[in-house]
Symmetry: C2
Subunit: 144 residues, 2 copies
């Protein structure tokens, strides 16, 4: 068996974990009280305000159960509110509060900086190839 260092999935794992730690630390240092995972949910809601919890789960690659719990925390923090859904009483309408909107704006700057630092010296071409190769891997692994 090949050593861990030689395995590409080990490197991919290392890259995303290193970036997440880096990004989380910088959010924390900027006084922004949110985790990366909570931000992902907020971002999905910002992009599509009428999204359902199940759709959020799919979008951020999480389980519906995880999304339920993350939303519970975001509500506790007053960044979100659960309201009645117009046409489907099984669903909720999730509303980003004004506090939540302000927070998201503040985060945007830090997130942009994080990416710029993390991608320093990576060309557009390299970025494109990175994306293409990862997309091939993703499709190869689709179970269905």
């Amino acid at each position: 068996m090949e050593k861990l260092e030689g395995i590409i999935f080990y490197t991919i794992d290392k890259a995303i974990k290193t970036y997440r730690q880096f990004a989380q630390k910088r959010l924390y240092e900027a006084g922004l009280e949110i985790t990366i995972d909570q931000w992902l949910v907020m971002q999905a809601l910002t992009e599509k305000p009428d999204i359902s919890q199940n759709e959020i789960a799919e979008k951020v690659f999480k389980d519906a159960a995880s999304v339920t719990r993350i939303i519970d925390l975001l509500i506790k923090k007053k960044y979100l509110e659960r309201k009645m859904h117009d046409s489907d009483r099984r669903r909720f309408h999730l509303e980003v509060t004004s506090v939540g909107k302000t927070l998201m704006k503040d985060i945007a700057k830090v997130v942009a900086q994080n990416r710029a630092i993390a991608l320093h010296d990576v060309t557009q071409e390299e970025l494109g190839m990175l994306r293409d190769t990862l997309t091939v891997i993703i499709n190869n692994c689709k179970t269905n």
Copy 2:
């Protein structure tokens, strides 16, 4: 703010999560009772039998606390044993049992297949560039 789909870290996250789900499912279907994270710890121990728990944590990008708990489970499953360390009574000598060794051999085949499937149609050159770009990102994010 750019949409999630356009963010490279979102794609990296998606790739590693898709692969992990794929790999875990195939391990489970092969009747192998181990998680990917537990396998990582076993593999680190197989590569360096005298490794310490802290060194394992560093190698597999986990917290020492996580490693303690993963090892507890591996011991409960009889794949590992904690023994006295020769020269340092703070440490343990972790020993892979014969059951554990057999398991690791069985896993090796499945893991090799998983990688072959996941990397189908990815050339050596693409793999090298993927690794290089990820390494740049990892170094850019090193906090220290």
